[in-house]
Symmetry: C2
Subunit: 323 residues, 2 copies
């Protein structure tokens, strides 16, 4: 199974072809956490076939926003696996990963929960199934709508955890095909339309409920109401840097300092004597790790709510827009 997975996952002829076409001598490989175990075998295979030297990035990688810049500076080409392109640096080759899990059963389960006009989105590993999904909807008498996102989004109908710009307007409901809660939650908060999440791996579908997350976020905001000293976090991953936004929030905060962090973790936040933080880095960090932080960590949207610059009914997930 692992063996099969390895060969399906990695397009070795494409990799060796690019290396020889560019006459590259030193190669970087960067993988998301779940694929790192496959890295040594692939590195050895590519070295044997090309004579190039491969350096595998051992630091965490959570998205296409999370390029290993130090490794990039050390190599002729960096192969970044599992995510679609958001950087236009020619030295980086994005090797997307399409999962061949079937989506039919999950979409069929979703049908009873959907309205007539359905906005369809998914993540990059299921993006090649978008036509199949649309066909199932059409065959069931619905009207699927697929729209283009901004420059951060590679494919029509694609969403990132930080970007829902391909979510179509003017529909009765949304269908999100994929796993996890983060993407459909963000869509549900951003638009006042029901979101149905259909998981291809379980074949199940459900209406997305944001009650629990909203309760948690309002609790974090309530805690931050008393904060006097603020730390405004500038994310140092190249695709997450929003210095201009951080400066604007610092001015709003008054008593505040800018703190640059690459990997945001509870112990790094413990180091500074501030009452609360605002993170301008990946929006998932504030949300997913909320329970582990030693002080409230708000998204920019939530900070504006706490500061009275935005209505408390306007809770939305933070998004990072394309250029």
């Amino acid at each position: 199974m692992l063996f099969y997975f390895y060969f399906r996952m990695f397009d070795v002829p494409k990799i060796t072809g690019i290396i020889s076409a560019r006459n590259a001598k030193t190669i970087g490989f960067q993988f998301p956490e779940g694929l790192k175990r496959q890295a040594p075998a692939l590195a050895k295979e590519v070295e044997a076939k090309t004579g190039a030297l491969v350096i595998i990035s051992g630091d965490p990688c959570y998205g296409a926003c999370d390029i290993d810049d130090a490794l990039l500076d050390m190599v002729d080409v960096l192969f970044h696996f599992g995510h679609s392109r958001i950087s236009d640096d020619d030295r980086i080759v994005f090797m997307e990963y399409y999962h061949d899990v079937d989506v039919d059963r999950a979409v069929a389960s979703a049908l009873p929960l959907l309205g007539q006009k359905v906005g369809v989105v998914t993540t990059v590993q299921h993006i090649h199934k978008l036509d199949d999904i649309a066909k199932i909807l059409t065959d069931a008498g619905r009207e699927p709508v697929i729209s283009k996102g901004d420059s951060r989004i590679t494919y029509p109908g694609q969403v990132l955890g930080c970007n829902f710009s391909a979510v179509p307007a003017g529909v009765d409901s949304f269908l999100f095909v994929g796993s996890g809660n983060f993407h459909p939650m963000g869509m549900r908060l951003a638009h006042k339309v029901p979101v149905v999440a259909a998981d291809p791996f379980t074949g199940e579908a459900r209406l997305v409920d944001v009650e629990k997350i909203m309760k948690q976020r309002y609790a974090v905001m309530a805690k931050a109401m008393d904060a006097k000293k603020w730390g405004i976090i500038v994310g140092m991953k190249s695709g997450q840097q929003r210095l201009a936004l951080a400066k604007r929030l610092k001015d709003i905060a008054g008593d505040a300092v800018l703190i640059s962090i690459k990997e945001i973790s509870p112990d790094r936040l413990l180091n500074f004597k501030v009452d609360a933080y605002v993170s301008t880095a990946c929006p998932r960090i504030a949300i997913d790790d909320a329970g582990r932080f030693p002080a409230p960590v708000l998204t920019p949207v939530e900070f504006e709510m706490v500061k009275g610059l935005r209505s408390w009914e306007d809770l939305a997930l933070d998004e990072i827009a394309g250029d």
Copy 2:
């Protein structure tokens, strides 16, 4: 006390003077872990006095080798506190930290343990006390010897955890003035001469014993004897990059891959299916965290011993030489 510490620690007029002389608008601050809590107060003071914007590095910092390069690229000047210069990048201002703790009592305690001709070394925070130390030795009828290190070392008599090039030859014993075990241990392993460690903070002195650490290192090496697949770690902190050494060790290892890591931690090593690692990054990492790693992590010196390229009597700490 903290207040006093703050004013003694930070030379605000020097900082503001450099900012205005360079007409710098965006400033980076980088502190070792123990000083990070002071950062927000200093940032606010410097912003108020200069009008410049300060960004504090929130990522870990363990030495002058550990420059925040991403922050450096974002600012006009980076003030790096607590360590002496090892980089010649003009954009970095190294703000050394001299501790004014008294050394007399510790050196007096060391006298009965020392020979006639004494090689004297210390770390940068006590370097301004070197003349006092030499005088105590001379007054006691001994001959202190202080020598210059290589280009990685700023002051005569200074040692780093990774560089003992200022340790003098041809003496009966060494006197190390400072805290902790790492520096004197490295000196003891590098030279077959007794090392006396005198700690200014406790006033006590002791003969350095390397039995325990040698036992541990030989146990790690014994475990690595059976390793078939090797991971050769390239440290990605700018002052710790030794790619040429890593390539050489990869060739020796045979079945090996290069893995680049910025912060080497047990969970990052768990990601790869290799039997043992060699770290070409900061030599302290393999030693200090030995008990926490999921696989043996050797220094380059130890790896050569395991591979039969160096005698098993030749155990020494790994050093990073200057240019």
